[in-house]
Symmetry: C2
Subunit: 543 residues, 2 copies
């Protein structure tokens, strides 16, 4: 299945979509649908600047329609999927954009394109137009065939031609530069799948474990069916071949082209491998990884290599404003920046506060003592480990109390926060770490311990997303802290926590936390273990 | 199969590829692989400009690493595929880029991201950093859930925040603008497939004829499995929903996002449908169609809609130089340009030349008389229709001779060229049309009829790609025209054509034309029908 309406309207509908979303790019189409599918600039001066016309069958998007614009193409002629546009369509395109400055027609080397573009060019010449034709044949899949195919390397040629045309160079100069670029250009593709033909489907001809090497961009089989041995092998195989066939040069431009459905993650990895190839030091400019000339949804990629003359470098780097031109970058070794000093775990300096030590010690004992009871409760609505998770953290804090910064409440809260991530794990560990980290900040900002705990609760709710009534520990902790604020009594706070925890037994729709995965009937009558832990802690502290 | 080496190194290898191909973009990574995967700007002034940090699990490329750069992100924190980055990684990113101007952290609403980014932000705050956190929750798949997911709409938020940060706005302003954008943002996705998890594979859970509506970007199933009824239905369904849930506004910005392997052809078509929706008149800016937030290779798309405040419009349109930012365009009705006048078929004015009429008439009769013989020859090496194809064209010319511009050789050749495309069809029709169109130009340029025919032959060879010895009509026509040039004798030319045609029987490796598809043993001893036709024509004319 595909996102099409009818096969017949696919290309015109798609081109209209491109146009509708192109406001400001000065694009239009010739009024010749469905036979004549030509996208062209409306801001081109045909008497001052050479027109660049390119095209071919559709199914290779973004090539070529999305490259119409200043600095690249003046017009793109689009055929049906994988079919050459008609002579009439190419002729209309040439006639629409060609003035005194003349026109360079760029096409990829396929018989249909050669003939249709060729005749159209001849017809335009017969009417007095200055037209040059350049046939790009960069595929080295079969190096000794007389008519190599034209594949993704054509993008270098279109960019170079577009640059010189935009600069106002005469036709002879534009054509000569483009020809020079195309003559030394080599490309090769490799794929793990064929492509899905609209309305027809995908031919699953490549067996698992195999890859096709040297394929075209029309779903035709590759020259070789090879064993697929991972991305590095594939990338180096293509790199070996293109370097072998490239003309010797001091520097090259490389295109890493996505043939369709290769993920950007894979494309990044393939680029990394190609640019780590022994000969990659000579690659100066990199275009991509990106999809410029695709073969519908083929899961493959191609490499194109071009010796880099100084004038080509300027041309490739110059700005262009077509819809999807990605810009070209230089090849560099990845830069590494040292980790910030703050990321190094720093030990807190131990300091004393006997009252706090006694309080925390007591709290830890209460939580440790309740391990089995809380586990039993959790077993009814969860995975039965709430008690153990809390107990483990409490044991860690209890054990490490003597080395903690008890004399500095902000630092102490920060130390507890660190301990939570290290010992509790999972979401609850991070939530408690957030609670204590926020409390630490609040104390540092001059808040009291109670205000700090309230700030911690608020942050925990912000990130955790739990509101009162959502059947979490918030239902016990929130009323307890409010009561402490109001009356200053731990006993009253414990009563509030108990009431809150008991109320969770009636909350059958958990809207946050892991109870949200448990069915209503299983929750009914059972208290939330987190809320119960808070209630038991405060009851213990107040006794 | 996928282009990976090991699942463990996939993300770091891919990020290194991005960095290697990014020279000039001032990017680096923190030296914390594999645990800390942070891409960051090297040209950011943390005391003057607010840092924008975004991130989340990988598998959504180009989001977010490829959006690091002036005008968008200061740093991107990348987790493993579909897994939140660690607290340490987010903390390192914040600390590395945050100075006096502070930092806005943008994340998509998933529990893991909320907790890990949240704790990292709290830790940075505890160290005195000014940090704001914005959680984007734009997915309307389940409009009444308390924690909607964050999906592709986050790109609007990142662009808007990046714009204000780049302009030097204070943290409060940057955060407020981003928050305002995120609060009124709605998104919805639809897919025809799930995605291929690296090293695991693809879950084929969507039956043919169905689509998943309201899916996340981590391979989780959509909210509804609906009947798939073509692209228009799918696009309008999503458009209906996002307009229904969007806050009323005078104008909107739309993102048409490719979830992975949807072809650009399909994306263009979907965009066309969305922008033709009854409510689309209110869409002012369009971002895409493009892949910004993907779900690996999912064959789906999503729409995001945001009410367009004037300050958002400026922010979205402002330039940004991250690696793959496509730029935003206005929504327009496709402009149509009239076809060039030259494309209207113009009738040639009849004119007389009795000698030429007699010669052409004789030539046509010879070709018509040889129909059966040429067909019989072609039946041995092709599909047996060479004689009929040529005869049909000859009959047409013969019948129309009285109305042809016989008095003007250039026009006459042009008229024959037109007749060839109209009556012969296929490659041979175009090749003959090229032959006569070029001859027409040559005569117009002052060449003799013989020079013109030679120019036509050269062009035909340029576009057709046939050299002498390739077993085509060139093998008869080339020596014949050379002999005519030399001796001026039609009889001698006929002898040369005959020798050339006979020689094709020994040419067993056809390098051009359709005989290149026929095996050597089937060609041996059989003359090329095209060459034979030329020989018979000249023999007939000389008798």
């Amino acid at each position: 299945m595909q996102f099409i309406n009818t096969k017949e309207n696919l290309v015109v509908d798609s081109l209209d979509g491109l146009l509708r979303a192109s406001g400001g790019a000065n694009l239009a189409r010739l009024d010749g649908y469905p036979g004549i599918k030509v996208i062209l600039r409306t801001d081109h001066n045909p008497n001052k600047k050479v027109a660049i016309v390119a095209g071919g069958g559709s199914g290779h998007e973004p090539a070529h329609a999305a490259f119409v614009g200043p600095g690249m193409l003046t017009a793109a002629v689009c055929g049906e999927v994988f079919a050459s546009p008609s002579v009439d369509a190419v002729f209309a395109a040439i006639m629409a954009v060609t003035g005194k400055a003349g026109c360079l027609v760029i096409l990829k080397n396929y018989t249909g394109d050669r003939l249709n573009f060729g005749l159209a060019a001849e017809k335009a010449r017969a009417l007095g137009k200055k037209v040059e034709v350049l046939i790009v044949a960069d595929d080295i899949a079969l190096p000794d065939i007389p008519q190599p195919r034209g594949i993704a390397g054509v993008m270098f040629v279109e960019k170079i031609a577009g640059h010189f045309a935009e600069k106002g160079a005469p036709l002879a100069k534009v054509a000569a530069a483009a020809r020079k670029a195309s003559e030394s250009l080599v490309s090769l593709g490799l794929s793990l799948s064929s492509c899905t033909l609209p309305g027809i489907g995908r031919e699953d001809r490549i067996p698992s474990g195999k890859a096709e090497l040297g394929l075209g961009i029309h779903g035709e089989p590759g020259v070789d069916l090879i064993d697929y041995d991972g991305a590095k092998h594939a990338a180096h195989l293509l790199a070996d071949r293109i370097f072998k066939h490239a003309k010797p040069a001091k520097a090259y431009a490389l295109l890493v082209n996505n043939l369709g459905s290769t993920t950007p993650l894979e494309m990044g990895l393939l680029t990394n491998e190609v640019l780590s190839h022994p000969k990659a030091a000579k690659i100066k400019l990199v275009l991509g990884p990106t999809a410029l000339v695709t073969s519908l949804d083929m899961h493959g990629f191609s490499l194109s290599l071009m010796p880099l003359m100084p004038e080509f470098e300027t041309a490739l780097k110059s700005p262009a404003s077509p819809l999807v031109w990605p810009g070209i970058h230089t090849h560099i070794k990845p830069k590494k920046i040292k980790l910030p000093a703050a990321t190094k775990a720093k030990a807190f300096k131990a300091s004393k506060n006997d009252a706090l030590a006694a309080l925390v010690g007591k709290a830890c004992r209460i939580l440790i003592d309740n391990e089995a009871a809380l586990n039993a409760l959790d077993a009814k609505v969860g995975d039965g480990d709430t008690g153990s998770t809390i107990s483990t953290a409490a044991q860690h804090v209890s054990r490490n109390l003597p080395s903690m910064p008890l004399g500095n409440l902000s630092q102490f809260f920060a130390a507890v926060s660190d301990a939570m991530t290290r010992t509790m794990g999972g979401s609850s560990g991070v939530l408690f770490a957030i609670f204590f980290a926020s409390a630490s900040q609040a104390v540092a900002g001059g808040k009291t311990w109670l205000e700090a705990l309230q700030a911690g609760l608020q942050r925990m709710r912000d990130y955790g997303g739990a509101n009162p009534g959502d059947r979490t520990m918030v239902d016990a902790l929130l009323p307890a802290l409010a009561e402490l604020q109001k009356s200053g009594s731990v006993a009253a706070a414990a009563k509030a926590a108990r009431a809150g925890a008991d109320a969770t037994a009636d909350m059958t729709r958990a809207r946050a936390g892991r109870s949200s995965y448990v069915s209503e009937s299983n929750l009914r009558g059972i208290k939330d273990p987190g809320a119960e832990a808070i209630a038991r802690l405060l009851e213990g502290l107040s006794s």
